[in-house]
Structure formats: structure tokens, C-alpha cells
């Protein structure tokens, strides 16, 4: 229907608009599912349509990080799906599931797994460490590093403390800090694109065995 020369204003039904409609529709599904689980959150739900919540943004980021990270080849099979694991109390709920539903990174499907203990994280590509795990952070990080996982968390100063990517809130906007040394220790290669948009790039390795 649209030709190269179809510049008429009426034809401005760009793909963008349609995509955003799809996105909105998807948001509505997400909204619907959250409605089922959290009946009390109806006003928040309607607010989601215009201003994505912190969790929405973070879940999207979580998925997007996968695009800029290269795992060591021996840890990745092409047939494998990329697992995004949540350790501790799940702050996202259905939001993360709906965000990654149907998405693929480098042809790999994405699955979400919720873990109760870090020992189950061996097949995880990305490990989100909930703030509930802050007390055991060093242990968790050490284990995750050994199994070559990209550790992400919204725990304050997470990157400083040896995590690879830590969410920070800056001027009402969610951004993230990157610890390159931690990434190297986990045998991960971070894309320069990712570093470029990081609010801060830290080079501070995790001291092994430190509690």
C-alpha cells in the first residue's frame, strides 16, 4: 500500500505507529495479566500505557542487555535458549514474561526462570539478583561469576561491589553502571555500544572469596 513516494500526510500510518499499537496491545495484555494477579493495581495499570514503570523499563533492559553481551563459546549452544534468571524476590511479575515473550536474540529463544538459590543458576545467561539477596551478595556474585553469568541488579552500588551491571536512578531515569573487570572475570565480552550508553563504566574486579 505504501510506495516510496507515498508521502501524503494521510498515509502517515507508519510502521512506527503500528508497532506502537502492537506494543500498546501487548502492554494491555500485560496489564490484563497483572490485573488478574494484582486486582488492586488498576490505576497503575492505566498509567503504564503512557509512562512505563521502573520495572517495565528494567525488564526491557534486562532483555536488551542480552544483545550486547557475548558469552564464552563453550557455554553457549546455538540451540540453547537464553535464560534470564531471577534470584530472590521477583519484582517484575508477569511484566518480564510478557516482555520477552516471542523475542529472540541471535536466533535464541528467551526463557525466564525464577530461582530460589544461586546454586540453580548454572545454565543462566543473565542473572538478576533481587535486592532481597543483598545480604548474600558476595557469595552469589562469586558463584555467578564462576558460571559465567551476566549479573544484573538494582541493589545500590551493585557494580561497585563486583556486579557486572547495576541499575541506578538518575534524574528520574533508569540508567545502569557497568563493571568491566567483573565482566572479564565472568569471561563475558561487553559490546562497546553497551559501554557507550552506560552511565558509568567501572573497572573493579570482585575479590574472590570475600564475604
Amino acid at each position: 500500500m505504501n510506495t516510496t513516494g507515498g508521502w501524503l500526510h494521510s498515509e502517515r500510518k507508519s510502521l512506527a505507529a503500528r508497532i506502537s499499537r502492537v506494543r500498546r496491545f501487548r502492554n494491555m495484555i500485560a496489564c490484563f495479566s497483572s490485573l488478574l494477579s494484582l486486582l488492586l493495581l488498576i490505576p497503575v495499570c492505566s498509567a503504564q500505557l503512557t509512562h512505563p514503570t521502573e520495572f517495565q523499563v528494567e525488564s526491557a533492559y534486562l532483555y536488551n542487555f542480552g544483545k550486547f553481551v557475548q558469552w564464552p563459546p563453550d557455554r553457549v549452544q546455538a540451540s540453547d535458549s537464553l535464560q534470564i534468571c531471577l534470584l530472590g524476590k521477583d519484582p517484575f511479575g508477569a511484566i518480564l514474561d510478557s516482555t520477552v515473550a516471542g523475542e529472540k536474540i541471535d536466533g535464541r529463544a528467551i526463557t525466564v526462570r525464577r530461582l530460589s538459590t544461586v546454586d540453580d543458576s548454572s545454565s543462566c545467561g543473565i542473572l538478576f539478583i533481587s535486592s532481597s539477596e543483598e545480604a548474600r551478595l558476595n557469595t552469589v556474585l562469586a558463584i555467578a561469576q564462576r558460571s559465567g553469568e551476566l549479573t544484573v541488579s538494582d541493589i545500590p552500588h551493585f557494580a561497585e561491589r563486583g556486579g557486572t551491571i547495576g541499575f541506578v536512578m538518575q534524574q528520574g531515569r533508569i540508567r545502569f553502571e557497568v563493571n568491566r573487570a567483573a565482566a572479564v572475570q565472568s569471561h563475558l565480552t561487553l559490546s562497546s555500544e553497551l559501554l557507550k550508553v552506560a552511565s558509568k563504566v567501572i573497572n573493579k574486579p570482585l575479590r574472590n572469596g570475600q564475604p
Partner: protein, 491 residues
């Protein structure tokens, strides 16, 4: 001194040359410029596309992680391309994400739609070209990058091309001018020569000129050859004509000379004959007179009658000779042209006649005429002959009337002498003026037929004509004119 026509043929050749070369050059320039425009636009789009591609792939993370600052930094790399007026990134839901503009002219654009199967598209405006490209991540559209480049470069190129085209056009026109002036010698100069010669021929009637032939064998040289051939033909014919004319002239003048000399000989002969005859005749008359005086009584009546006959014949012969001498005299004597009052002469002659024959009752009606131009002595002879003629031919009537006058006829004066005498047979009117021709017998009216011939000769010497109108017993009118219509008497 080029006439407009001859100038125009070389000018037209020059103009034609210049028009042709100018038009060809102009067309070539237009074609070249059009080609350059297309190529330039294609190149521009290509460059913009590459730049958009770089921008889009470098701003994926910025868009994904909502970092407009980084995106703006990426965009600012476009500073190096000074034809890019502005650029920007829109999110997938059409919100402006990051912006770059060359000179702070940060106007927000509505970006054109891209169909699903296209990755980028562009639009040419009057002064700008807008290129939009999708930003893809994992095959999904996450935003759009647009680049707005101005087309000042094209305008500059256009101006440059126009300048070059103009210079080339001018130079080539100049060159065409030079070439055509060089070719004028071989192309238009022969035509100009031809025209010049043709004009000279028609103006001067000079058929001896020839058009210089040019070495080259073309239509013009054929034309020149034919023209020269024609001139040669005309010259030949004109020569022949002139020769014939000259021969004719020569023959006429020869004949005239012969005639004149024959005439002169004849006149000399008649004069000498008349003159020489007078001597013996005078002797004859004298001796007859002496015979009558001295021996008249001795002769009887019959003898005296015979002698009387001889005497009359001698007298008539004397008159005849006298008249012949007069006739030849009027033909040869020199003329003194002056103003002559013909009426006065007519009066004096009439008086003489009345005086010599007082017994006759003749009324002379002489009207005043304007002064005529001629020899008074000869004109007197004319009037004397005509009036005496009338006097003689009215002698048979008891009372008669003789008129002299003039009347205007077609701008010339016609003099006439009219009587109511014996008249003549109009059928013989032409014979009247021939010498020795008489319409009446000698017994009826004496005379020797020389008078009217003399009149005619004198009138002709004055450049005039004589004619007569009359009928038997109804009188006669003799007309004469002096000088032709042009008024110039013959010498």
C-alpha cells in the same frame, strides 16, 4: 559597398553557423547537466543512506537504553558533512529522541512513512532532501533516523555549469564566427561576386565582364559558369547586332550621299541647261523681233501669222526657262530665317494684281496673321504663286473673291489661300504639286505647271506641308504650314 542583399547572404550563413553550433552546444549542456543532476542526486542519496546506516547501527544501544545524550553524540558526527542541515532520531512511537542541527536550526520534522518492506526512503524537496531509515535491533524496528541535507550544492553546481556553459557557448560562437568568416571566402564570396557582376551588367550594360570562377566544383561554380556562358552569348549577339546596325547606318548614309550627289548633279544639269538655253533663245527672239521690224511689210498676212506663232512660242519658252531657274534656285539658295508678316506681303501682291488688271472685279479678303518664321524672299514667292494662281483661275468669273488667312489646327498654324474660281477634280489633288503637271489645258489657263511645285519645295524647306482641297467650278483652297509641330524648319 555591400548592398543589403549581398550582405545578408554571408550574414545569414554566419547566423546559421552560430545558431547551429549554439543550439547543439546548448542541448549538449542541458543533457550533460541533466545527467549530472541525476548522478549527483543518486550519489547524494547513496551517501546519506550510508551515513544513516552508520548512525542507526551506532544508536541502537542508545535507543534501547533510552540514552538521548549518546544518540546526540552519535548524530553530532554528521558535523563533518556540511551539507547536512539536520538529523534526528525518533523512537518507534514517533517521539523525537535525539536531534542534531548544523546551525541551531532545530525545527522538528514530520518524518515520512516507510512501508513495512522498506528499510529506508527519501524525498526530494525544493531545497532539501530528506532520508529516513529504520533503526533495527534483532530484526525489529526500535526507532527511525532521519537526515535532512540541503541541495545548495546542486544549486552551486548549477551555477557553475551555467557559467561554464556560457563561457563555452561564447567561445564556440566566437569560433563559429571565425570559421564562418573563413568559409565565407569559399562559400558566399563567389555568390557575392556573382551578384556584384550581375548588378554591373544590368547597370552598365557591359557584357564583357566575367565572374571570377572559384576552383571548387559545386553548384555555385556551375551557376557562375552558366552565367559567364550567358554573358558570352549576349556579348556575341550584341556584337552581331551592333555590326548589323553599323552596316545599315553605313548603307543609309552612302545611299543618302549618292542621292544627294545625284540630286545635285541633276539640279546643276537642269540649271546649266536652262541657263545655256537662254542664250540661243534670246538670239532667236531678237532676230524674230528684227525680222518683224525690218521685213514685216514684205510679208503677206499668212507669213506674219506664222512669224507671230514663232514669237509666242519663243516667249513661252523664255518664261519656262525662267521658272525652271527659279525652281532650282529655291532649292539651293541659302535661307535667312526671320520674322515675316505674311499678311503684309499678301496685301502688296494683291495691290500689284489689281493694278495690273484694273478691269477685273476681284475682292481680296486678307486677315491679319501672326508673324511667321521663315525666309522673307522665299515666302514671298510662295504667296505670289498661290495668289497669282487664284487670280488666274478666277479669271473666268465676272466677280470673284480671294481669301488669305490662318487657322489653328492641333497646335500649329495653317495658312490658306482660298478662291471661288475654276477649282479642280479632287481625284487629282495629289498631282497638283508635281512639276509640269497641269489639270487644265494651256488654252483654258496659261501656265507651265511649275508654280505649285515651287511652293511645295519652299514650304518643305521650311519644314512644313502643302495640300489642297477643291472641286470643279467650286473654287479651291491651298493650305500650307511652316515648320513642323516641333517648330524647327529644315535647313
Amino acid at each position: 559597398m555591400n548592398s543589403p542583399r549581398t550582405r545578408s547572404i554571408s550574414t545569414r550563413l554566419t547566423i546559421m553557423n552560430m545558431l547551429v553550433s549554439g543550439a547543439a552546444l546548448l542541448l549538449a549542456c542541458i543533457a550533460f547537466f541533466a545527467y549530472d543532476q541525476i548522478t549527483f542526486r543518486e550519489g547524494l542519496v547513496h551517501t546519506l543512506s550510508a551515513q544513516a546506516q552508520i548512525i542507526s547501527s551506532n544508536s541502537v544501544s542508545a535507543v534501547l537504553f533510552n540514552d538521548p545524550q549518546t544518540a546526540a553524540n552519535t548524530l553530532s558526527a554528521l558535523k563533518s558533512s556540511n551539507n547536512i542541515a539536520s538529523a534526528g532520531i525518533f523512537t518507534v512511537d514517533d517521539h523525537p529522541f535525539a536531534q542534531y542541527s548544523r546551525a541551531g536550526e532545530g525545527k522538528l520534522l514530520t518524518i515520512p512513512a516507510i512501508s513495512e518492506d522498506q528499510i529506508e526512503t527519501y524525498r526530494f524537496g525544493t531545497s532539501h532532501v530528506l532520508l529516513v531509515r529504520k533503526i533495527l535491533s534483532e530484526g525489529k524496528v526500535i526507532g527511525f533516523v532521519y537526515i535532512l541535507a540541503d541541495l545548495h550544492e546542486i544549486d552551486k553546481r548549477l551555477a557553475r555549469y551555467a557559467l561554464i556553459a556560457m563561457v563555452v557557448l561564447l567561445v564556440s560562437l566566437l569560433f563559429a564566427l571565425l570559421v564562418s568568416s573563413a568559409f565565407r571566402k569559399s562559400v558566399s564570396q563567389p555568390i557575392v561576386n556573382l551578384a556584384e557582376t550581375a548588378r554591373r551588367v544590368s547597370r552598365d550594360k557591359d557584357y564583357s565582364v566575367r565572374v571570377a570562377d572559384v576552383g571548387e566544383r559545386d553548384e555555385v561554380s556551375v551557376l557562375i559558369e552558366s552565367f559567364n556562358e550567358m554573358l558570352r552569348e549576349i556579348q556575341l549577339r550584341e556584337g552581331a547586332l551592333q555590326q548589323a546596325h553599323n552596316e545599315l547606318e553605313d548603307r543609309v548614309s552612302e545611299r543618302t550621299r549618292e542621292l544627294l550627289s545625284a540630286n545635285r548633279e541633276l539640279e546643276a544639269f537642269s540649271y546649266s541647261v536652262s541657263h545655256d538655253l537662254r542664250g540661243p533663245l534670246d538670239a532667236l527672239n531678237g532676230f524674230i523681233y528684227l525680222l518683224i521690224q525690218q521685213h514685216g511689210e514684205k510679208l503677206n498676212t499668212g507669213g506674219r501669222e506664222l512669224i507671230e506663232h514663232i514669237r509666242n512660242a519663243g516667249k513661252r519658252m523664255t518664261e519656262l526657262i525662267e521658272d525652271l531657274l527659279n525652281l532650282s534656285r529655291v532649292s539651293t539658295s541659302a535661307m535667312h530665317m526671320e520674322k515675316v508678316d505674311l499678311s503684309k506681303i499678301a496685301h502688296s501682291i494683291a495691290e500689284e494684281l489689281c493694278h495690273s488688271h484694273p478691269q477685273r472685279k476681284v475682292e481680296f479678303v486678307i486677315s491679319n496673321t501672326e508673324n511667321a518664321q521663315g525666309d522673307v524672299r522665299l515666302l514671298r514667292i510662295v504667296l505670289e504663286n498661290l495668289l497669282r494662281n487664284s487670280w488666274k483661275y478666277t479669271s473666268g468669273h465676272k466677280e470673284s473673291r480671294i481669301q488669305f488667312g490662318a487657322e489653328g489646327n492641333k497646335g500649329r498654324t495653317v495658312y490658306f489661300v482660298r478662291d471661288d474660281g475654276a477649282g479642280f477634280d479632287p481625284r487629282s489633288a495629289t498631282r497638283l504639286f508635281q512639276p509640269f503637271q497641269r489639270l487644265h489645258s494651256k488654252d483654258e489657263f496659261p501656265g507651265n505647271g511649275i508654280g505649285l511645285a515651287t511652293v511645295q519645295r519652299i514650304v518643305r524647306r521650311h519644314g512644313g506641308e502643302t495640300w489642297a482641297v477643291g472641286a470643279v467650278e467650286k473654287g479651291a483652297t491651298f493650305y500650307f504650314t511652316l515648320g513642323s509641330a516641333a517648330g524647327q524648319p529644315k535647313a
